[in-house]
């Protein structure tokens, strides 16, 4: 059963009728809107303007767009200086490089310094595709959520990415937003509410046995999986945990209380990622049997995004099969 209060697209289960867009596109739109709303918003890019969608902001606000070159360490430090002065800098690169290469600069000049830099990690996950493992960031949720003062957001679709971008522009805190390259179904709408730290139960199963907590593109695949399992007589509920930090512990514990098994699903290493964050909460408040869908301590590889998502189990079928296996 769909949660009617959050106004998801009415064609939710008819994937062909949903628009397809990448979360980076929603981010690009959100950044322009944030720039219109607040003249302190500035964009810094480490030589990846088009693929991070920073170029849309650049076209609109050339005087607030700054080229950094291929220099991610300096990207973080210059962002820190701008934020310290009073600007709201969005620093953009691929997640594999920022926060991949510049973690220490983020730690000391952004989170310990506690200045509101917005780190935009594009091309996260195996859905990057043909570029291969070097460019498929699978560790960024772990390395960002471990930092005090940091907010970590993983939008589920392009529309949520737009809203999340607007939200982090105004939260006054160091923030990380994780984006994907590949187009995925846009299943939320402009009417769907979004608030940092407010997870949503997007699909409510009948007498649910299983609760899936997902982030990123796996939220939609989990909804499809829940709908498919319903026909097999298995009740499954799905939560979109787009804010991984600050973690809403009570919402996660309350959700877990309604089910027997919690399945976490993320396009990220299972070690240290969203699933680990959920496990930390449940160990304290509501211990549960858990299944971790994610990268099982290995790197990705080249291939078509759909092919890779299927191979690593990041599809409706992959989730359904994993749950059936667990229930068998």
């Amino acid at each position: 059963m769909i949660n009617q209060n959050i106004h998801l697209n009415s064609n939710l289960f008819d994937t062909d009728k949903l628009d397809q867009a990448a979360t980076r596109d929603g981010f690009g739109k959100g950044l322009v809107e944030a720039g219109e709303a607040n003249e302190n918003v500035v964009a810094l890019c480490a030589d990846l303007a088009e693929s991070t969608r920073a170029h849309w902001f650049k076209e609109q606000f050339p005087e607030r767009y700054v080229e950094l070159g291929v220099a991610e360490q300096n990207l973080a430090a210059v962002g820190s200086g701008l934020a310290n002065y009073g600007k709201i800098p969005f620093i953009m690169s691929y997640a594999a490089f920022s926060p991949g290469r510049n973690w220490e600069q983020i730690r000391s000049t952004i989170t310990l310094n506690d200045v509101p830099v917005k780190i935009v990690g594009a091309h996260a996950g195996v859905s990057v595709g043909p570029d291969g493992a070097t460019h498929q960031a699978l560790e960024d949720i772990a390395t960002m959520r471990v930092l005090p003062n940091m907010t970590v957001v993983v939008p589920a679709d392009s529309e949520e990415a737009r809203k999340a971008t607007l939200a982090i522009a105004e939260n006054g805190k160091p923030s990380y937003i994780r984006l994907a390259r590949a187009k995925t179904p846009v299943f939320t709408t402009t009417a769907t509410p979004f608030e940092i730290g407010k997870p949503q139960v997007v699909y409510q199963g009948q007498h649910p046995k299983v609760g899936i907590i997902a982030c990123g593109s796996l939220v939609y695949q989990s909804i499809l999986a829940a709908e498919a399992l319903k026909h097999d007589g298995v009740g499954v509920s799905v939560m979109n945990l787009s804010t991984i930090k600050p973690m809403n512990e009570s919402a996660v514990a309350d959700f877990a209380r309604t089910v027997d098994i919690i399945v976490t699903a993320e396009e990220h290493q299972v070690a240290g990622g969203m699933g680990s964050a959920v496990a930390e909460v449940l160990a304290k408040h509501e211990p549960k049997r858990m299944v971790f869908i994610g990268m099982q301590d290995r790197y990705g590889e080249s291939g078509d995004p759909d092919e890779l998502l299927k191979h690593f189990g990041f599809t409706k079928e992959g989730i359904v099969n994993r749950i059936k296996e667990e229930l068998a």
Partner: protein
């Protein structure tokens, strides 16, 4: 500058050195050589060059002094206390639990500390970001970044140097503490910096070399940097690590250790003698 003013600043620097010795002995850990070597420059900044207000550390119109090599922060704390940012007595809390004077500086702990630093190589980028923000808003405030020379081993510094040169951040001035030592030994043995002036020039900077213990020359160099409109300026300040205490001058072993109780008394005595020498030299 008048001879009287120079004498006044030299005496102030001597007082600050005494505070540094005192606070480091009290702390029982910390760096001695770098702070003593940079005392004359900090004195020049806080008592002659900076547009600042110790009673209002967050004043929007202030110049920004970014310390990149955070480990020399005792000299910043001591100079700030002498300038009136906080009581001198607080200096003895350095590195102690609950103190605002953290072992490496933290922005949120003490008003007037512009940036958190310690991990080397990140100050210049932060200073460049501030300079850029000021320029975007059409403001004329100056941004200064103090770096060590060992710190120039960090690749991050050169990313930032390239950035500031490319964006022609002319109201940004970097000051390199060229004291030739780092933890493992002399810089030219550990990792040679080679043609340091040529390196900065090739990154698009105007370079001035100066004796970092001649306050008047240093002040002149900063004024000269203000006059350079088309590029940022790097002042390579030649300094003596441990300056003021003969037995530790130029000894890299003193990079990262504090004086003991006996040494403290000896060092303070030497600085008291130095005070007399400063007064005598200007009386002539």
């Amino acid at each position: 500058m008048t001879d009287e003013r120079i004498k006044e600043l030299e005496l102030k620097a001597n007082d600050i050195r005494m505070s540094i010795i005192d606070m480091l002995e009290d702390a029982g850990s910390g760096h001695t050589a770098g702070p003593l070597g940079m005392t004359d420059i900090f004195t020049a900044f806080y008592f002659e060059l900076l547009n600042h207000d110790p009673q209002n550390p967050d004043w929007d119109e202030r110049d920004r002094l970014i310390l990149s090599n955070g480990h020399i922060v005792p000299v910043r704390y001591a100079t700030m206390a002498h300038a009136g940012y906080f009581p001198l007595e607080e200096l003895t809390t350095l590195r102690k639990f609950g103190s605002r004077l953290q072992g490496h500086p933290e922005r949120h702990k003490l008003p007037g500390v512009e940036n958190t630093s310690g991990p080397l190589g990140t100050g210049l980028g932060q200073a460049a970001g501030m300079a850029l923000g000021l320029r975007m808003d059409g403001k004329k405030n100056r941004v200064y970044c103090l770096t060590g020379d060992g710190e120039l081993d960090c690749g991050n510094i050169w990313e930032s140097a390239m950035f500031a040169g490319h964006h022609k951040l002319s109201h940004l001035t970097a000051v390199v503490d060229r004291n030739n030592i780092q933890i493992n030994g002399f810089t030219e043995n550990v990792m040679s910096l080679g043609d340091l002036r040529g390196k900065w020039e090739s990154f698009g900077w105007h370079v001035i070399e100066v004796d970092g213990h001649n306050i008047e020359s240093f002040v002149d160099a900063v004024h000269q940097a203000h006059a350079i409109q088309e590029k940022p300026t790097c002042i390579i300040a030649h300094t003596i690590p441990g300056k003021g205490i003969k037995e530790i001058e130029n000894e890299f072993e003193w990079h990262g250790k504090p004086p003991g109780a006996e040494e403290e008394q000896r060092f303070l005595k030497e600085l008291r003698t130095l005070r007399g020498k400063i007064e005598a030299s200007h009386a002539q």
